[in-house]
Symmetry: C2
Subunit: 149 residues, 2 copies
């Protein structure tokens, strides 16, 4: 189990791979973001995107799946108060294989809850062609080591 | 169809309602965010949240569903480059009925693509007790009126 004290500024963590299909892109979008360039491969060809693309929220959710599997499930995570500066730079397309990278930007002990720390993480998502698809700054509450708090 | 020119600073739009069940919260989380306070109602009682809560990405996706149904499907939307300052202030819990409110913060014509405008929207999500659950600033590309561009 990785606690707040186990993270240091500049630490990086590689995530993935995770492959997403056209069916998954459309299933998410039918439920949450039914715009035609997320749900209709034929009509999507005439959009500014030139084909089917994943919803931005699906893209974020896919990053989160890689984050949970690769790191968060082994961390004393206590949730997140939010995110900063999501940028969808290039879309996720059918059969893309996704990768993620986390870099620790800073961390501090919570003033109101001294048993936990607050980490800020630079989050990047790439595809199989090493194109940068999405960036954001994640904020994570992380429990401190039992002997530290 | 609502174009860029049809939006003015201070305009507000009410969204919802949309009710979310425990089964939906768990189904999303099993796929994208399998942390126990999103997937296991019994274990979640012992978490800092005191019970099952929706993933933050699910919360954002639910807002998006209300946005698409209430406004985006009637807008000349051309996608979004990103979001700012997501804050999860209170969690979404099983059987919550959700509402949204959008407020236009500012808008400008794109320099690189003069056929579209860029809107910034203050986005708020509430529950049935009028508690503010989530805020963020959305950025939307919107087509200009055919005669304007």
């Amino acid at each position: 189990m990785r606690y707040f004290e186990d993270f240091h500024v500049g630490d990086t963590f590689d995530l993935g791979p995770l492959t997403v299909t056209a069916e998954e892109i459309m299933a998410f979008a039918r439920q949450f973001d039914p715009q035609y360039f997320h749900t209709d491969p034929e009509r999507a060809k005439d959009s500014i995107f030139g084909g089917l693309i994943a919803s931005g929220w699906h893209t974020g959710a896919l990053f989160t799946r890689m984050y949970v599997d690769g790191l968060l499930s082994k961390m004393a995570s206590m949730g997140s108060p939010g995110l900063e500066q999501i940028r969808w730079l290039q879309p996720v397309r059918p059969d893309d294989t996704l990768y993620g990278r986390l870099t620790v930007i800073d961390g501090r002990v919570s003033k109101s809850r001294p048993t936990m720390g607050i980490l800020r993480l630079n989050c990047e998502m790439f595809n199989q062609q090493h194109e940068l698809l999405m960036t954001f700054i994640g904020i994570n509450y992380v429990g401190r080591k039992p002997e530290a708090s």
